[in-house]
C-alpha cells in the first residue's frame, strides 16, 4: 500500500512558554523549540505499522520552509521510505484551504492508496484533512483511532461518547485524520536522525507540484487571522501569586468556602 502522511512542524507546547509578541499578531517565536505535531507523529507510526503488515511505502510530506526539514528527517529515522518538502514563497500567508490545495496537487502527481493527517495541528484548526479529501473527491474519516486493512477498503473506528466505538467502512483511496492514542509511536533519538542524515529530501516548489498559484498564498486566503490576545481577567477568575504552600492553603480555603470539601 502506498501511504502518504501529511505532517507539520509546530512549537512544542511542553517545551515552550508561549507568549504573544509585541505587535500582538503572532506568538513570540525567537526562542521557541519545535517538534513534529504530535497527532502527525501518531499518523506516521500508523502508516509504518500498516506498511509493515501489508507491504508498500510510506511518504511523509510537509508544506513549509527549510527549517521543517528537521521533522522530515525525524520521520525518515522512524522508518518512512521517503520525505518531501514542499516550499515556495508564494505559499506564504495561505489559509487551510491553500495548504490543502498544495497537498492535493502533490497527491495528484503520485499514486497514493491512503492519505493520513494528524487530527489537527497543535497550532492549527483541523482544516486541512477534510479540505484535502474534498479537493481530491476522496472519502474522509476523521478522529480515527484504529485501522484494519481489508481488500480495497479499510475498517476504521473512532471514539464516540463514553468511550464507545463507531466502526466505519471506507473505500480506498481515502483520507483519514488520525487521533493520538491509536498506537505508541516509536522513539527516535539523535542517533536515528544522524543515520538518515545523508538521505536526500527533495524540495518541490509551486510549479513542481503544479498547484494553481491563484489558489494559494495570502491573496487567496479567505480566512485571515486578525488578532491574538490574552483573555482579559474576567470576574470570578482569581490568580494566586504567593508561594506554593500559601497558594495551596488558599486553594483549600476557597474550595472549602464554596462547599467543595465535605
Amino acid at each position: 500500500m502506498e501511504i502518504l502522511v501529511c505532517a507539520r512542524r509546530v512549537p512544542d507546547t511542553s517545551e515552550n512558554e508561549i507568549e504573544i509578541n509585541a505587535a500582538g499578531n503572532d506568538i513570540e517565536r525567537d526562542e521557541l523549540v519545535y517538534s513534529m505535531n504530535e497527532p502527525d507523529n501518531y499518523a506516521v507510526e500508523e502508516a509504518l505499522q500498516i506498511r509493515d503488515r501489508v507491504g508498500g511505502n510510506v511518504t511523509v510530506v510537509t508544506v513549509g520552509g527549510e527549517d521543517d526539514e528537521e521533522i522530515l528527517r525525524r520521520e525518515l529515522a522512524m522508518g518512512a521510505n521517503r520525505a518531501v518538502l514542499i516550499s515556495d514563497d508564494v505559499f506564504s500567508g495561505s489559509d487551510g484551504r491553500g495548504i490543502a490545495a498544495v497537498l492535493a496537487a502533490f497527491v495528484r502527481q503520485g499514486h497514493y492508496d491512503l492519505i493520513l493527517t494528524g487530527v489537527q495541528a497543535e497550532e492549527g484548526a483541523a482544516q486541512v484533512g477534510g479540505m484535502l479529501a474534498a479537493l481530491l473527491d476522496y472519502p474522509f474519516a476523521s478522529l480515527v483511532n484504529s485501522i484494519v486493512v481489508e481488500d480495497g477498503k479499510l475498517r476504521v473506528s473512532r471514539e464516540i461518547e463514553s468511550g464507545n466505538r463507531e466502526i466505519n467502512e471506507i473505500e480506498l483511496p481515502c483520507v483519514l485524520s488520525i487521533q493520538t492514542g491509536i498506537n505508541e509511536p516509536r522513539y527516535v533519538g539523535m542517533r536515528g536522525i544522524r543515520q538518515v542524515a545523508s538521505l536526500p529530501i527533495p524540495t518541490l516548489g509551486a510549479s513542481d507540484v503544479g498547484v494553481d498559484q491563484a489558489a494559494v498564498g495570502g491573496k487567496a486566503a479567505r480566512a485571515k487571522r486578525v488578532d491574538y490576545f490574552i483573555p482579559a481577567l474576567s470576574k470570578g477568575a482569581l490568580i494566586l501569586h504567593r508561594s506554593r504552600e500559601e497558594n495551596a492553603a488558599q486553594v483549600l480555603e476557597l474550595v472549602a468556602a464554596k462547599g467543595g470539601l465535605k
Partner: protein, 709 residues
C-alpha cells in the same frame, strides 16, 4: 585399596577393576571437557570485553572474594555454611584427586603429601569430609523445612528450584559418604590383617564408619571398599558433568568470574569496547538485542550465578513488586544459553531477548541502585547488562511514551522538563540569597575557582531550589570563590546514559565539558549525587569533583564551620544513603560525620543503611517512568525510618527528597515524619559571624539583617 587378598581371582578382579576405573576416568574427563567446550561456544561468539589488565588487582580480588569468601557472611547462617563447604572442597581437592588416581595406580601419593604431612592432611580431610557432609544435611533441612523465602520461585518464573538443589546436596553428601567409607573400609581391612593402617580422625565420618564396619568379615569389607570406590568415582564424574547444567557450575566458573570481575565502581561499560565515542555512529546496532550482544564476561556471569537469591532479596524494585528480579535476569539468560546453545545439537541464537525472555517493563524497572551487585558473592554485574538491554531498546525505538517527552526535551532544551535555558539560573534570584551576596554566573565575564554544578532538578524544581540555595550559602560561608554555569549548564545526562540513550548523553556531556572548560574553574562541587557520579565517572577531562557533603565534612574538621544546637531536641534523625553517593562512590561517613557535629542531634541508623541502603525510587528519568508496582519504594523506605525510631529523614540528593517527601504523603505519615536535605540542615544550623547563636537557626530568620554572612 584393601589389596591384601592374594588369590588369583582377586588379582584378576583388580585388573578388571583398574580397567573399569580407568574407563570411567577417561569417559568422565572427556564428557566434562566436551560439555565445557560447548558451554564456551556463546562466549567465543560474544562481544569483546577487555578484562585482562591489572593482574595483581584481579588476584587480590580472587584472594578476597573467592578464597576469602568476603561477601558470604553478609548472610550469616547461609554464609558460614557456604564458607565451610567451600573450605571443605578446597581441602578435599587433593584427596579426591589422589583417590581417583589410586584406582588406577594403587601406590600413588600426592607430591608433598607423603609421610607426616600426608598423615596430617588425612586427619584434616577426614574432618573436612565430615563437615561438608553435615553442611549438606543442614542445607537440605533448610531447603526442605525452613524454606528461606529468597529461594522461592514466583510462578511467572517457572517451577521451584528446591528439588534440583536438594538433589545436588544429596550427590555431594553421597560423595562424602563414599569417600569416607572407602577410607574406613581400607583402614578396617588393614587393621584386621594386622597391617599398618591410616589412623582416622576421631569422631570424623570415616572414623565412625570404621567403628561400624571394623568387625565385618574381610569379604564384606572388600566389597564395601570396591563399591565405595566405584560410587565415589561415578558420583564424582556425574557431578562434574552435571554441574554445567545448573547452578553448581559456579564451582568451576566462580574463580574466573571473580578474576575477571569489574574493578571500578560507578562506571558504565561503553556501547562497544574498543570503539571510541566519535566512531559510534558507525556501529550498526547498539546495546544488547540478542544473546550474542552480551559480552563474554556477562555470559560467564550467567553461568556463575549460584541462584542464592541475595540480589533479589535486596532489590528495591523486587521489594516494591515491580516486574524485576535481578536473580531471574540471570537465571533466564542462563536457561536461554543452555537451551539455545545445547550440548548436543546446533546453536540457534536469532531470537530477540526483549519480548521472549525479558519484558520491557522488567528492564525499565531498574533504578540502577546497585544493591544487587553489592550483595552478590560472585560479583555478578547487573547494571551494565540492564543498561545494555536499554540501549538495544532505545535503538529499536522501543521506549515508553512517558519517557519520550523528557528525552525529547533533553535533546532540545537540555533538561527533561522542557524548561527554558534562560531560566536555569532563576533560583539564585531568591531573596534568601541576598545576605550571602549574589551567586556568580560564569558566563565569560565572571570567573571563579569552583563551579557549583547544579543540574536540572535543583535548578528548576521549586522545592529542590532550596537545596541549591542552601548549597550556595554553605559555599559562601566557607569562603569558597564559586559560580554556576547558568543557561550554559545542561543536564548532566547521568540518567540519560543509564536509560540507554548514549548518543544524547554524549551530546550533553560534550556540551557541559566545553562549558566547564570555558569557565576556567579548578574544581567542581555538586549537591546532586547523580551529577557527582556523572562528572566523576562518565565525563573525561573535567576538573576534580566533590559532593557537598565532602566539602562540609572537611570544613567541619578544619574548624571553619560551627553549628548551633538542634532546636527541637525531640527529633530523631536517620540518614538515608543515596545510592550514587553511598554504594556507587563509597561516601558513607562524611554525611554522618557532619550530622554528628551538630550539637544535640540524635541520630539512629536504619536497618538497611550504608552499602545496604534501600533505594528511594530512583532519580532523573525514573521520575517520569510509570512503573508497574504494588507500592512505592519510597513508602517502604519511609517505613524503615519509622521502624528505626526516626522522625526526620536526612538525605543528600534532590531525587531522594522528591521520592521521600512524596512517600511520606502516600504513607499518610505527614506530621509524624519529615525529610530534609543535608545542605538544608547544615544551612539551618550554621553559626554565622556577627550572629547571635539563637537567632541564626531556622531558614526564615536568616533573611533578617542580623544574619548577613
Amino acid at each position: 585399596m584393601v589389596g591384601t587378598y592374594s588369590s588369583a581371582q582377586i588379582a584378576d578382579w583388580l585388573v578388571s577393576g583398574r580397567n573399569l576405573f580407568l574407563t570411567i576416568h577417561v569417559f568422565g574427563v572427556a564428557c566434562f571437557v566436551y560439555i565445557v567446550a560447548r558451554r564456551l561456544v556463546p562466549l567465543v561468539r560474544a562481544q569483546r570485553d577487555p578484562r585482562f589488565d591489572q593482574p595483581l588487582a584481579r588476584l587480590g580480588r580472587v584472594l578476597k572474594f573467592w578464597l576469602g569468601q568476603w561477601k558470604h557472611p553478609r548472610y550469616n547462617f547461609a554464609g558460614i555454611l557456604h564458607i565451610l563447604i567451600f573450605a571443605g572442597f578446597i581441602l578435599l581437592a587433593a584427596r579426591a584427586f589422589t583417590v581417583l588416581i589410586v584406582g588406577v595406580s594403587e601406590t600413588f601419593v600426592m607430591p608433598g603429601l607423603s609421610g607426616k604431612s600426608g598423615h596430617i592432611y588425612n586427619i584434616v580431610t577426614d574432618y573436612a569430609a565430615t563437615i561438608v557432609f553435615l553442611c549438606m544435611v543442614v542445607a537440605a533441612i533448610r531447603r526442605l523445612v525452613f524454606k528461606p523465602s529468597r529461594y522461592a520461585v514466583p510462578a511467572k518464573y517457572g517451577k521451584g528450584h528446591t528439588a534440583d538443589a536438594v538433589f545436588l546436596l544429596g550427590l555431594i553428601a553421597l560423595l562424602m559418604v563414599a569417600d569416607s567409607l572407602f577410607a574406613a573400609s581400607d583402614a578396617a581391612g588393614h587393621a584386621q590383617r594386622g597391617q599398618p593402617a591410616e589412623t582416622l580422625a576421631v569422631l570424623s565420618l570415616p572414623w565412625l564408619l570404621q567403628v561400624v564396619t571394623g568387625s565385618m568379615p574381610m569379604a564384606t569389607l572388600w566389597i564395601l571398599n570396591v563399591t565405595a570406590y566405584l560410587v565415589h568415582e561415578v558420583t564424582f564424574y556425574f557431578l562434574l558433568c552435571y554441574r554445567p547444567f545448573g547452578i553448581q557450575f559456579h564451582v568451576e566458573t566462580s574463580l574466573f568470574s571473580i578474576y575477571f570481575s569489574k574493578l571500578e565502581r560507578g562506571t558504565l561499560k561503553p556501547v562497544r569496547w574498543g570503539v571510541p565515542d566519535e566512531h559510534l555512529d558507525q556501529v550498526k546496532s547498539f546495546g544488547v538485542k540478542k544473546f550474542e550482544d552480551f559480552t563474554w564476561k556477562h555470559m560467564l556471569d550467567f553461568y556463575s550465578c549460584a541462584d542464592c537469591g541475595r540480589c533479589a532479596d535486596n532489590c528495591p524494585a523486587n521489594a516494591a513488586g515491580r516486574p524485576l528480579s535481578p536473580r531471574f535476569i540471570t537465571i533466564k539468560a542462563r536457561d536461554y544459553a543452555f537451551q539455545h546453545y545445547p550440548v548436543l545439537g546446533r546453536a540457534d541464537n536469532s531470537n530477540p531477548l526483549i519480548g521472549t525472555i525479558y519484558s520491557d517493563d522488567e528492564i525499565w524497572s531498574c533504578t540502577t541502585c546497585g544493591a544487587c551487585e553489592e550483595e552478590c558473592p560472585l560479583l555478578v554485574e547487573y547494571i551494565d547488562k540492564i543498561v545494555d538491554l536499554r540501549r538495544g531498546m532505545i535503538d529499536d525505538g522501543n521506549v515508553p511514551q512517558s519517557l519520550q517527552k523528557p528525552l525529547k526535551a533533553l535533546e532540545s532544551r537540555g533538561n527533561p522538563y522542557g524548561k527554558l535555558e534562560k531560566k536555569k539560573a532563576d533560583w539564585v534570584k531568591s531573596p534568601e540569597l541576598r545576605q550571602t551576596g549574589p551567586v556568580k554566573v560564569l558566563d565569560g565575564k565572571n570567573g571563579a575557582d569552583t563551579l557549583y554544578f547544579v543540574d536540572s532538578i535543583t535548578s528548576y524544581d521549586d522545592r529542590m531550589q532550596s537545596i541549591g540555595r542552601s548549597t550556595a550559602r554553605i559555599l559562601s560561608h566557607v569562603g569558597e570563590d564559586f559560580g554556576i554555569l547558568g543557561a550554559a549548564e545542561k543536564d548532566s545526562g547521568h540518567e540519560v546514559r543509564r536509560f540507554g540513550e548514549e548518543t544524547l548523553f554524549l551530546a550533553l556531556r560534550d556540551h557541559n565539558t566545553d562549558a566547564i572548560k570555558a569557565s576556567g574553574v579548578q574544581r567542581i562541587v555538586t549537591a546532586d549525587p547523580h551529577a557527582y557520579n556523572a562528572l566523576k565517572h562518565d565525563y573525561k577531562d573535567v576538573p576534580p569533583v566533590e559532593h557537598i557533603s565532602q566539602v562540609i565534612a572537611r570544613e567541619v574538621k578544619a574548624g571553619n564551620i560551627e553549628f548551633s544546637p538542634v532546636e527541637n531536641e525531640a527529633n530523631v534523625y536517620a540518614y538515608h544513603d543515596p545510592c550514587y553517593l553511598g554504594r556507587h562512590n563509597q561516601i558513607y561517613d562524611d554525611p554522618r560525620d557532619v550530622l554528628d557535629a551538630i550539637p544535640g542531634l540524635k541520630r539512629v541508623e536504619m536497618k538497611r543503611s550504608r552499602d545496604r541502603s534501600f533505594c528511594c525510587g530512583g532519580g532523573g528519568l525514573m521520575l517520569f517512568y510509570e512503573p508497574k508496582e504494588e507500592q512505592r519504594m519510597g513508602v517502604l523506605r519511609v517505613r524503615m525510618a519509622a521502624d528505626a525510631g526516626a522522625n526526620v529523614i536526612v538525605t543528600a540528593c534532590p531525587f531522594c527528597m522528591v521520592n521521600i517527601e512524596d512517600a511520606i504523603k502516600v504513607a499518610g505519615m505527614e506530621g509524624k515524619m519529615s525529610a530534609i536535605d543535608l545542605t538544608e540542615l547544615v544551612d539551618q544550623h550554621l553559626v554565622r559571624e556577627g550572629c547571635i547563636r539563637a537567632v541564626c537557626t531556622g531558614e526564615e530568620k536568616l533573611q533578617t539583617a542580623t544574619c548577613g554572612g
